[in-house]
């Protein structure tokens, strides 16, 4: 599976394909969406009525000394202000609703999709980068909605509306007022051309600068050991100044656009005054019309001035969308066309000439075949890197074998309904992973059919009840990764978790690290109880565990080399016998030596 996109990318500000995909998420809220869009012209009307009222007030009331009329105009003016405020606030609020709801949906969709990605994806992509797709990138899109960049098209409509009102009020005056429009169009177009490249450059350089920073901070020791501080600083300086220079360019562009638009706005007013005065002299324009135009021109240039800001936001929103969708497009775990679930759970496991490699042809398992009968307890032993853990991962279909078959209850794991397979097999990993949440949550992992009573029963059965009660019961909260528990306690909790899920097959990667003697006894005792009445596959690190198993499989460099009971294997004097002498025999000797030293 490919790695997900990094920080460097192209910088389109407007991409119809992306917008169409985004629309899928907006569609459920399209009613609200169109309401928000429709409020835009309403708001526009209230905004445009005000200059018109100004004109009426001046020409029809003030000029004629009609104070009553002036009062009426003022009252309508108040209504227009209230209307403008309400419609604008309403529009913003509705837009927010659409943005929030659809982006929340997008976030859920992403999260749900992540749950279905195969393990290979998580091996290749650092967690931090994946998290930032879900948080930072979605946030950038939200900002774009908030800044009104997603509705930049409505701004264009606004311009048309103002232009139309001007033309309706006074044709010639309107033409004069908008005479400089071509200049603005040219300026904006020029800006857009340059900004596209500059903003892209900025984002690339931010990405590079931050990437370099992150790497340098993580690898500061490596830098120190190579006495490379000066050169690393030089490299940082280069990225830092490139970043600064890119912003210098964008500052220049934005400052120019801002000032040009302001100047054009002022000059337009001046031209309008000139023409207005001429028209007034020949009674073709009233003084109030000139006043109204003064305001209309200023209204006209506000969206134009905001353009640069919205453009930048829109562009980064599009790249964020691009990255999010590229993640959504990755293939999830393959699902069988006709998933099967055997009616009767027996607990038989068969590995049939299984070959597996995480990468290319580096075989971790070579032609491994064995059968575990229902109810049988099998211990797997072998040196580090012999392929023991991989067997567990294939059994649970976290990975798929390249050649051969893994069968559970006579069905290839690839044909099993995935959830059902995993519910039948409970896995206890060496490094117990606990979530921050209550003890009970960590036992049930959210399965609703495990009652509090069942949680308690399971915990009691595996000797976890005692410490859980001491820490305040099943509702007490575990810190992140269960850091407030000891190693042994975490194992007991993992046992309780496995037991509560009542699997037919139990898979256990025994912890290598030793725990304090008291807990150690509890763990051993719990393990024996846990294994009762189930098929069990155990990667064993302790002699007692091996002794409790029916059969031992000896893995060596990816191959199954020996198989039999403890006694048989010792007599054979092969790999197992040596492993035994190397690892397990010292188990008895180690405490003795430690005792001797003190």
């Amino acid at each position: 599976m490919a790695e997900i996109l990094g920080e460097e990318e192209l910088g389109k500000a407007y991409d119809a394909r992306l917008l169409r995909r985004l629309w899928e998420y907006v569609r459920p809220y399209r009613g609200v969406f169109w309401c928000a869009v429709l409020l835009s012209p309403v708001n526009q009307v209230f905004a445009l009525v005000q200059p018109y009222l100004l004109k009426k007030g001046i020409d029809e009331s003030i000029a004629r000394g009609d104070l009553l009329g002036l009062r009426n105009v003022a009252l309508v003016f108040v209504a227009a202000i209230v209307g403008e405020f309400t419609s604008q606030y309403g529009q913003q609020y509705l837009t927010t609703i659409v943005a929030q709801r659809s982006l929340a949906d997008l976030r859920i969709a992403l999260f749900a999709r992540l749950q279905r990605f195969p393990m290979g994806f998580f091996d290749k992509n650092p967690v931090g980068r994946v998290v930032s797709r879900l948080t930072t990138d979605v946030d950038v899109m939200q900002e774009a909605f908030a800044a009104g960049a997603m509705t930049i098209m409505l701004d264009a409509l606004k311009l048309v509306g103002i232009g139309a009102v001007m033309l309706w009020m006074n044709f010639w005056l309107a033409l004069t007022s908008l005479a400089l429009l071509p200049v603005v169009v040219l300026a904006v177009d020029f800006f857009r051309r340059w900004a596209r490249r500059t903003y892209r450059q900025i984002r690339e350089r931010i990405g590079r600068l931050n990437g370099f920073l992150q790497e340098s901070i993580s690898g500061m020791t490596a830098i120190a050991l190579s006495a490379r501080e000066a050169r690393t600083f030089g490299e940082f300086d280069e990225l830092n100044s490139a970043h600064r220079d890119a912003y210098h360019v964008s500052n220049k562009l934005e400052a120019s656009l801002f000032s040009v638009v302001e100047a054009v706005s002022t000059v337009s007013v001046a031209l309008m005054l000139l023409e207005g005065g001429r028209l007034h002299a020949v009674s073709l324009a009233q003084i109030g019309t000139i006043a109204a135009f003064n305001q209309l021109i200023q209204q006209f240039f506000v969206p134009v001035r905001d353009f640069s800001q919205k453009y930048a936001v829109l562009q980064s929103a599009m790249t964020a969308a691009e990255r999010i969708f590229s993640l959504l497009d990755l293939q999830p775990e393959p699902v069988p066309a006709h998933p099967r679930v055997p009616a009767r759970a027996q607990g038989e496991i068969v590995f049939d000439h299984v070959w597996f490699a995480y990468r290319d042809e580096e075989w971790v398992l070579r032609d491994v075949s064995f059968r575990v009968a229902p109810g049988e307890k099998v211990a797997i032993v072998g040196a580090t890197g012999a392929g023991k853990t991989t067997i567990i991962k294939l059994l649970d279909r976290l990975y798929e074998a390249q050649r051969g078959q893994v069968l559970v209850d006579g069905i290839d794991v690839r044909d099993w309904e995935l959830g059902a397979l995993r519910r039948r097999i409970a896995v206890v990993l060496q490094d117990v992973f606990l979530f921050s949440g209550t003890v009970a949550d960590n036992v049930t992992l959210g399965r609703p059919d495990i009652t509090p009573a069942a949680v308690e029963a399971a915990a009691t059965h595996v000797n976890a009840d005692g410490f859980v009660r001491r820490m305040g019961g099943y509702g007490s909260v575990l810190r992140e990764r269960g850091s407030n528990l000891s190693g042994g306690q975490r194992q007991l909790l993992a046992f309780a978790r496995a037991l509560a899920h009542d699997p037919t097959i139990l898979v256990l990667d025994e912890a290598t690290s030793s725990v304090d003697p008291e807990t150690e006894w509890l763990v051993q005792d719990a393990l024996v109880k846990l294994l009762e009445t189930r098929t069990a596959v155990i990667i064993a690190h302790r002699l007692s565990t091996i002794e409790h198993s029916d059969r031992i499989l000896v893995m060596h460099r990816g191959e199954l080399r020996e198989e039999g009971s403890h006694r048989e294997l010792l007599e054979r004097d092969g790999i197992y016998a040596r492993l035994y002498r190397m690892q397990y025999a010292s188990e008895a000797a180690a405490p003795a030596r430690a005792a001797g030293r003190t």
């Binding site: 003030i62 913003q92 998580f122 939200q142 908030a146 830092n240 500052n251 959830g419």
Partner: protein, 575 residues
């Protein structure tokens, strides 16, 4: 803040120029409504007004120039200072010892260098711009408006204190709600982080649906927090419009009344409306500025805290390199504890000497203190008591850079940079590498691996070298150390991920190299250490045995036990 002034002073010329232009631009802006009013009066009175309009156009054009200049100069200086600040921070970080990084998280440091620096930049850019602009605008605006009509000014601006109050209140609300949203986002991302870290458990227990449900609940909460923020944020622009609108209303109604009574000319009414319009933005900006100021100051305080972190390990004054350097290494009575863990003595009066050109092997169980010894040699930490001597001189009296170039440490878990293999190997070489990289990769046994890579030496290793196997990473790190040809080579279990046969081959190839250097080997494999001139056995921070292979075997204690166990391992490997 003192640090800030220092940066500002560096750019004072340009900055001053920018501010002068800003003042000019603001002044010109404030002239326009007054001129417009005059034009209206002239139009009404049928007087000539061509010169007034020409004035407006001239102002607009001149203003365009000064405004452009002021904006980009002030914003650019913000970027310049951001650049300086970031450079200084980075240089400072480079001088901080390993102990500092063990206590800080990368994410936290990143946030200082990214978010806090940004906050300071905003303060110096937009912050200063509006800080100057607002009072000046008010000064001009009020003066002119009062000179036209004092009661009307009071009436028209009556709504402004209210507006300012609203903005201030809103921005406080916005800050608070933004904090909630940020917390929500942090909660959300730590939830995702946890889910992804534990994905194997999630999958193994088919708990995906529950995880999604959990996430949905948090997501809904986050959405609600966002709504709360949006309700406030949505206020700002409409409030701005309403302030402008109410001002116009007052002027139209109350001012219109005075026009009718003849106290005010229509042009003056016009000018009033214009000033209200021009003053609306600075009023809004003021509320916002207070926030930027607050955040900028807080960020600067946090950065100062970072600057205050002491570079504890530096070159002492008067330090001079050893000429010529032979490479004798002595540990004299070394006692050491890791900073931040004062209760655990890692090394307890450890002492031994390695004559120049000899090889010493350090063996012992995990946690015995082996790594601490090798970390002390290049001064990643300093000893608490006793001393590390090179040719009889304490390492603390040597120039740090020189020391680290002479002592080549290859750590067990090496850090590779996401660059090409060549760049990773040449990492410590200054200037031309002339063939040293090729030599080093050959010595590190990478030739065969490189042949299988798409671009050989020019292959880019992924983030932290993810595209390489553990053994390959270790050998690249070894090549990196070899390439600088250090006098003292220190391998901290640096070939643990390489299989025994390859390790054998490499050590044979390196034998000639070792003979010319002092070598310190930390290793687990007896096969690796047995040929060393001196073997030091460490347990719980103390030297428990010392001697050569034969004599230690003859003693029949810790080392001999280790040897017997590993002999079995070797047998296993051979099967």
């Amino acid at each position: 803040m003192a640090r800030l002034w220092r940066y500002l002073r560096r750019y004072r010329g340009r900055y001053a120029g920018g501010i002068v232009c800003l003042l000019a631009a603001t002044t010109l802006t404030m002239m326009v409504p007054w001129l417009t009013g005059r034009v209206i009066d002239a139009i009404q009175a049928d007087r000539a007004f061509g010169r007034l309009v020409a004035c407006i156009i001239a102002i607009a054009l001149f203003q365009m120039v000064v405004r452009t200049y002021s904006r980009f100069v002030i914003f650019n200086v913000g970027r310049d200072i951001e650049y300086d600040l970031r450079n200084d921070l980075f240089a400072h970080l480079e001088r901080l010892p390993l102990a500092f990084y063990q206590q800080r998280q990368t994410g936290d440091l990143m946030s200082r260098l990214v978010n806090d620096v940004t906050a300071v930049r905003l303060l110096l850019g937009v912050g200063i711009l509006n800080f100057i602009n607002t009072p000046i605008s008010y000064l001009y605006g009020l003066t002119i408006m009062l000179s036209i009509d004092a009661p009307l000014t009071a009436a028209a601006l009556g709504v402004y204190p209210l507006a300012l109050g609203v903005v201030k209140w809103t921005s406080r609300q916005i800050i608070e709600r933004t904090l909630r949203v940020q917390e929500g986002l942090a909660e959300l991302s730590s939830r995702v982080q946890q889910n992804l870290s534990g994905i194997q458990v999630v999958k193994a227990y088919a708990a995906e649906e529950h995880e999604i449900g959990d996430f949905r609940a948090l997501n809904d909460k986050f959405q609600e927090q966002n709504f709360r923020l949006a309700r406030m944020r949505g206020f700002i622009v409409p409030v701005m419009n309403i302030v402008g609108g109410v001002g116009s209303l007052v002027v139209l109604w109350y001012g219109g009344y005075h026009v009718v009574t003849g106290r005010l000319s229509l042009g003056q009414l016009f000018a009033f409306i214009g000033y209200l319009h021009v003053l609306a933005w600075p009023t809004m900006a003021l509320g916002w500025m207070l926030t930027i100021l607050q955040r900028g100051r807080a960020a600067m305080l946090r950065l100062n805290e970072l600057f205050a972190a002491e570079p504890a390990i530096t070159t002492a004054p008067g330090a001079a390199p050893i000429e010529p350097f032979r490479g004798e290494v002595t540990l004299r009575d070394v006692t050491f504890r890791y900073p931040g863990r004062p209760d655990a003595t890692v090394l307890d009066r450890v002492g031994f000497t390695v004559p120049a050109g000899r090889t010493v092997a350090i063996v012992g169980r995990t946690g015995a203190g082996k790594s601490a010894i090798v970390q002390l040699l290049p001064r990643l930490f300093d000893v608490e008591h006793g001393g590390i001597l090179l040719d009889g001189r304490d390492v603390r009296t040597l120039p740090l850079g020189w020391l680290r170039r002479q002592v080549g440490l290859v750590p067990q878990d090496p850090f590779l940079f996401s660059r090409t293999i060549r760049e990773n190997v040449a990492f410590g070489i200054d200037g031309e590498a002339d063939g040293r990289v090729e030599w080093a990769v050959r010595m590190a046994g990478l030739t065969r691996d490189l042949a299988e890579m798409p671009a050989g030496l020019e292959t880019v290793v992924g983030e932290r070298g993810v595209t390489l196997s553990g053994g390959q990473k270790q050998r690249v790190a070894l090549a990196r150390a070899l390439a600088t040809a250090p006098r003292v080579l220190v391998l901290d279990d640096a070939l643990s991920a390489v299989d025994a046969a390859t390790e054998r081959e490499m050590l044979d190839a390196l034998r000639g190299f070792f003979r010319e250097r002092t070598t310190v080997l930390v290793a687990h494999r007896i096969s690796t250490v047995k040929e060393a001139d001196l073997i030091v056995v460490i347990d719980e921070g103390r030297v428990v045995e010392m001697g050569d292979h034969e004599s230690l075997l003859a003693r029949g204690e810790v080392y001999a036990d280790l040897f017997r166990q590993q002999a079995l391992e070797v047998e296993l490997e051979a099967i």
